[in-house]
């Protein structure tokens, strides 16, 4: 068997999957986005740009998403980086695996149930009651942008921790030792060696979180009290409530295009920062 045949055989299952489960469905969405809404909802065949012309009606949703996704990604990065650093550099190998897996274990409980726990914690009988007890009164946490942010950080932390951890783990510890042997202060070692070398991990983590945040709908609905509307919520409403599938498809296509553009720009920026294309593992 030549290497060529072998590669083809190895790629066959994945290729078939992509064809049947991705290309076919996406073509359907694209076709739908040029259709019309049937009177009772759903899709009726047509060729019109009407759905795309209506896009400004969801401008607010796109705007909210384009604010939430970067802010949420940044917040998750700030919280996750020290954890990943701690796990990769400071923890003894004995504890490494277990601590790493402990990051992911909470996610074996449905996000819905966990959000319920947060609704309680951020609600009147949770943290605000605790604050009241120590003398800080009138704090309102639930159904605010803050609670949505907490939910996002909570929900996406492992996705940020893992790639950064993997990256820092591979980092040659001798470099750090050399740096401190040469008399560099710890923070200088961090700024000049650790941080630049962990850029690929940061880039991967940010991209994963950013992409998933662009389609997020559960956390704003549950912890934001449904008062903040993102593209994900708009899509859920269009497909499941008003059943305007052609319009929903057009919004979906637009979202994918917006994401493609954003991610491409992002990749360019990362490249400028000196990371190799191969390193940013998403590509």
């Amino acid at each position: 068997m030549t290497q060529r045949t072998r590669n083809w055989l190895l790629l066959a299952p994945a290729g078939t999957w992509f064809l049947v489960m991705l290309i076919v469905p996406l073509t359907v969405v694209l076709i739908y986005s040029f259709g019309e809404r049937a009177t009772a909802g759903g899709y009726s065949p047509a060729f019109t740009f009407e759905q795309y012309a209506n896009l400004p009606a969801r401008w607010a949703a796109f705007k909210n998403t384009m604010v939430l996704a970067p802010v949420g990604t940044l917040a998750a990065l700030l919280i996750a980086y020290p954890v990943a650093y701690f796990l990769a550099v400071r923890v003894s190998p004995k504890w490494k695996t277990i601590l790493l897996v402990l990051v992911i274990v909470p996610f074996w409980t449905s996000i819905l149930i966990r959000s319920y726990a947060w609704i309680f914690l951020l609600g009147g009988r949770g943290i605000p009651a605790l604050l009241e007890w120590i003398g800080i009164e009138g704090v309102r946490l639930i159904n605010t942008p803050f609670s949505v942010l907490i939910g996002i950080i909570y929900g996406y932390l492992p996705l940020m921790v893992f790639p950064i951890y993997v990256n820092l783990e591979r980092l040659d510890k001798r470099l750090l030792e050399a740096s401190s042997d040469l008399g560099a202060k710890p923070w200088r070692t961090f700024i000049q060696i650790t941080l630049p070398m962990s850029i690929p991990g940061i880039a991967t983590g940010c991209m994963l979180v950013f992409i998933l945040l662009m389609g997020e709908f559960l956390i704003p609905a549950l912890l934001g009290g449904g008062k903040v509307f993102f593209v994900g919520n708009a899509l859920v409403d269009l497909f499941l409530q008003s059943r305007n599938w052609p319009y929903g498809s057009a919004v979906a296509v637009t979202l994918v295009v917006v994401m493609l553009i954003t991610v491409t720009i992002y990749m360019r920026l990362i490249k400028r920062l000196g990371a190799h294309r191969e390193d940013v593992s998403l590509m």
Binding site: R37, T39, A40, G41, G42, A57, R58, A60, A61, N64, Y116, I119, F120, G123, G124, R125, R140, I142, N143, A221, G225, G226, K227, F229, N233, A234, D237, F239, L240, Q241, S242, R243, N244
Partner: protein, 385 residues
Amino acid sequence: MTNNNDYISKKKFMEELYRYKRGSVTRRHFLNVTGLGMATAVMGAAVPGLRPQPAFAGDIGDRVVLATWPNYHDPANFEAFTAATGAHVQVNVFGSNEEMLAKLQAGGSGWDVFVPTNYTITTYVGEDLIEPLDTAMLPNYDAASYNPRFAEAGSVDGKLYAVPKDWGTTGYVVNTAHTGGRKLTSWKDFWDIARNEFSGRGMVHDYQLTTIGNALKYFGYSFNSIDEKELADAEKLLLDVKPHLFAISSDYQPALRNGDAWMSMAWTGDGKQLNSDMPEMEYILGVEGGEIWSDYYAIPKGAPHRDAAYALINFLLDPEVNSREVLAHGYPTADARTNALLPESLLNDPILYPAEDLLSALEFGAAATLTDPNRAELMARFKSA
């Protein structure tokens, strides 16, 4: 049978069921101890629905798929059904009619029986998604025993497509501990207090039909209005109230219970549950009117186990079985035969059975209300504002 006092307690039943499922007792022991075996035998003889019917005298298959709402059935009834017919009931639960409709419209649902609400039935018929019912296969269905108000939506153009399950209303729950003795009676009160004294404490449904419908009621318009000018008024009200709302969510019980919210639009069952646990929670129907609804059993087109579907509906329509259902979920039924078996206290409950003058002001949601694109867009503007 259900009123029989030495009937096994619910707790004991669950324990036995659990033991049976773990395999520590045999099926025979389980059926004996729980009385289900006897119940099945007795029911088989006493309940016409369980006597082998010519239509499905033979094998109805080993399963039937039911698409319904959460907490809307007594699981013990399904066990009894399985024991009697050999068909296992697989339950799919849904959060809204639109979700059900979306899934049926897309195809491939695999359901045998589903539970649509009154205003969706004509849409299902129009889309050719629902099967006309053959009453010969539903001996327990007695059209005369139903209050026609809750049964008529089941027939479209003289053809029967769906048989009544339960009904209820949409009003609002208010925590009277915070009203300072003031009595709220109308939707006008609801919206006015929501943007004044109750700022940051009110909730509306994440549901176009009821939220827009009840905003229309503020002006005295029809709950079902799709008139552009009237909708524009409702939109102005909604946008004005939005900054004062605690949340836009159909899951309002937790917030009301822990004191974060003081008032919310609510359906009968939630009103009842909140009121039973916290007497200060009052369930109010607006004097201007509002929504009344009724749910039905129906069979979707292309149901994979049609015979089993008929057998299940027929079984659930049996007054004995149905009365146990009502005791389990707490929604009123339109079947007089079932009501005759229910305790007096339940029938006199003003939340379940509101006064006639309040009831008569209520409107059933209309199919056009549900599918109107302008209302859908209004809701999107309200939520994204």
